[in-house]
């Protein structure tokens, strides 16, 4: 009886299994398979097995920029994630104050960047970062800063990319953090206050530990999402100047659709996925977010 129930319970997981396996198992297998071939536009109908050559090329041949791409991907992912989370958390803390008025108004306005299609916002932002005509240079001009060639200088390009990405993403982090903050029992703060804790102490000793699991979950999923977030780099800098802001996913895209090097693009994607999966599994393990209650 019990055994039958356990087997029956698997039926609840059937839809997601079907959905994900249907949409990913064949594509993933296919991608793995062609990454061992020379499939490209010029070996289109007839391509052949070439073993690990694509992988060896990517990992050893400096022309494939692998180290640089990995470094850029890390800058992009970590550089975006940290300010996003800090800003999201900070705003959530501010909004969580019980004596604050107009909370809904502020919160609604913070939702706007999230609610607007990212793809459109990015096109707007690419105009705003423009050297001669972008509104940003005009605004910083008001306080006497000389115009900056945002997208054509590596450092500034990173700044622009990350700021844009932060703008796009902070609402998501703010809302998740805010709702997690609101679920912390108020008594915990009150007892600490009675026990002599000031505002900073309460933050460090109660808020942070209570938020740990949310922070980790949001951090892990945010890391994965940002790592594979294609549009900001693609639309704003296209990886430039040079390849100095190019990241793995954008570069794979170029390999696939500019050079029609489907096999190489697959190999890049698979390497990227393996790196990501290893990190995700480590983070899942460490954070125990999949553990049950209690």
């Amino acid at each position: 009886m019990g055994k039958r129930q356990v087997i029956f319970n698997y039926f609840y997981l059937l839809p997601i299994l079907a959905l994900v396996l249907f949409l990913f198992l064949y594509p993933v297998a296919y991608a793995v398979y062609i990454s061992f071939t020379n499939f490209s536009l010029f070996h289109f109908f007839q391509y052949s097995y070439i073993g690990f050559k694509n992988y060896i090329n990517i990992l050893t041949n400096p022309n494939f920029y692998f180290v640089e791409l990995l470094k850029n991907t890390a800058i992009w992912t970590i550089g975006s994630l940290i300010p996003m989370m800090i800003l999201g958390f900070f705003l959530a803390l501010i909004l969580n104050q019980s004596d604050l008025k107009f909370k809904n108004v502020f919160f609604s306005s913070f939702l706007i960047p999230w609610a607007f299609p990212a793809y459109i916002s990015l096109l707007i932002w690419s105009g705003m970062w423009d050297y001669s005509y972008g509104i940003i240079n005009k605004i910083i001009g008001l306080i006497g800063i000389a115009p900056i060639n945002w997208l054509n200088n590596t450092t500034y390009a990173w700044v622009a990319l990350i700021l844009t990405n932060v703008w796009l993403s902070f609402p998501y982090y703010t809302s998740i953090f805010l709702s997690a903050l609101q679920s912390i029992p108020r008594e915990l703060y009150e007892i600490a206050e009675v026990d002599g804790a000031g505002m900073l102490t309460r933050f460090a000793r109660i808020t942070l530990p209570m938020m740990k699991s949310t922070l980790v979950f949001v951090g892990v999923s945010g890391f994965i999402f940002t790592w594979n977030n294609f549009y900001p780099v693609f639309i704003l800098t296209g990886g430039g100047p040079g390849t100095s802001t190019d990241i793995l996913i954008v570069y794979s895209y170029q390999e696939a659709f500019s050079y029609n090097q489907y096999a190489l693009a697959s190999a890049y994607s698979i390497i990227s996925t393996i790196i990501l999966a290893i990190m995700a599994v480590i983070m899942f393990r460490y954070s125990r977010i999949l553990e049950g209650r209690g």
Binding site: P185, E187, L188, E190, I191, A192, E193, V194, D195, G196, A197, G198, T201, R205, I206, P209, M210, K212, G294
Partner: protein, 358 residues
């Protein structure tokens, strides 16, 4: 305005606004608590007991009135500087800290040296017999153990004023009794002052030096527990205290007696004197003061055996009377029973104001 009391509340008013509706929770509460005294605030749910404690601790600020602790007015002092300790209704133990860290928390905030902290925590843990649990996490504790941790955390500070909000409410009857005894013991030993909130009167009677009865934002009574129990100053207090509570019956005043329906109950002449000039009063008589085997006839509605004794619900015309008897008697529904009510054990209340007459 100041008195010699250790804690003094003077004319405290407090209201809350919920969606433009104003709820008056406290309406001029004044209360003096002496040093080393154990005061219990007793009252039904939702009548402002917690709010009062929160005002004392500074977590809430009163709309009007003053709070003095040890002679000093504290209204402008934030909670962390009032040197009070508090136990919350639901414990409020930090779920992510071990028991040790929970108890040590107030000391760490005072930046005491590590060794001293460890020593103090160990001492108080031994006092509460939780020294074996110090390494556990809260989710590994039973309700009673959590309770002790919360109390330990409050005690370790060495605060002179301890505020406790229904600290035993979530415990088993069994454990509750033991915990109650220990707490009382501890307070005697260490001599701190306690303001304790509960809606369980057994607890109030067992623990309190004085009981403050709070209802509808007003102190209904403030006195020694047995005094309140024996001579409640109004019918609300009478109906609230005692389990089962006092029977309250409308009676007609007669010469040297009162009339319950057709039954005449003789009363002492000094009482009779005081009832003069009234036609109807409310008579209060404790269920345990009614004896079986008298002239007053009723029919049994229900018998509740409660171990030590039984409660028999008796219907006399439209009045329902509860009688406590020795548990060996066994009446069942429908039985006829005869009761004796002795006039000199009864109290009398004004029919309209509900105040005690005598």
């Amino acid at each position: 305005m100041q008195s010699s009391a250790f804690l003094q509340l003077s004319d405290i008013w407090k209201s809350f606004k919920i969606k433009k509706q104003v709820i008056e929770v406290l309406k001029g509460v004044s209360l003096d608590v002496n040093k080393g005294e154990f005061v219990v605030i007793l009252g039904p749910s939702g009548e402002g007991k917690t709010t009062l404690l929160r005002i004392i601790s500074g977590l809430e600020v009163q709309d009007k009135g003053e709070v003095y602790i040890d002679g000093e007015r504290v209204d402008n002092i934030p909670p962390k500087d009032r040197n009070v300790a508090m136990v919350f209704q639901n414990y409020a133990i930090y779920p992510f800290m071990s028991v040790f860290d929970n108890i040590a928390f107030p000391l760490k905030l005072k930046k005491l040296p590590k060794q001293e902290i460890a020593k103090k925590v160990r001492e108080v843990a031994e006092l509460l017999q939780i020294e074996k649990l110090l390494d556990r996490k809260p989710y590994q504790l039973s309700g009673g153990q959590k309770q002790r941790v919360a109390i330990a955390r409050a005690l370790v500070k060495g605060a002179q004023l301890l505020l406790m909000d229904e600290p035993l409410a979530n415990l088993d009857a069994q454990i509750r009794m033991i915990a109650r005894e220990e707490l009382k013991e501890l307070q005697r030993k260490l001599g701190f002052t306690v303001v304790y909130v509960t809606h369980d009167q057994t607890e109030a009677l067992a623990l309190a030096d004085r009981v403050a009865l709070l209802r509808k934002g007003v102190l209904q009574a403030y006195d020694k527990p047995m005094k309140l129990f024996k001579r409640p100053n109004n019918i609300w207090v009478a109906s609230f205290l005692g389990n089962p509570p006092m029977n309250l019956l409308k009676v007609k005043v007669d010469e040297g007696a009162v009339l319950l329906d057709e039954y005449k109950i003789e009363i002492p002449s000094e009482i009779s004197e005081k009832l003069k000039g009234r036609s109807e009063v409310i008579m209060g008589i404790r269920p345990e003061d009614i004896d079986i085997g008298g002239k007053i006839k009723g029919s049994v509605e229900l018998t509740e055996p409660l171990g030590l004794f039984s409660v028999i619900h008796v219907k006399i015309r439209e009045d329902e009377i509860r009688v406590v008897t020795n548990s060996s008697s066994s009446y069942v529904k429908g039985d006829t029973i005869q009761l004796a009510i002795s006039g000199n054990k009864a109290l009398f209340f004004d029919e309209s104001t509900g105040e005690l007459i005598t």
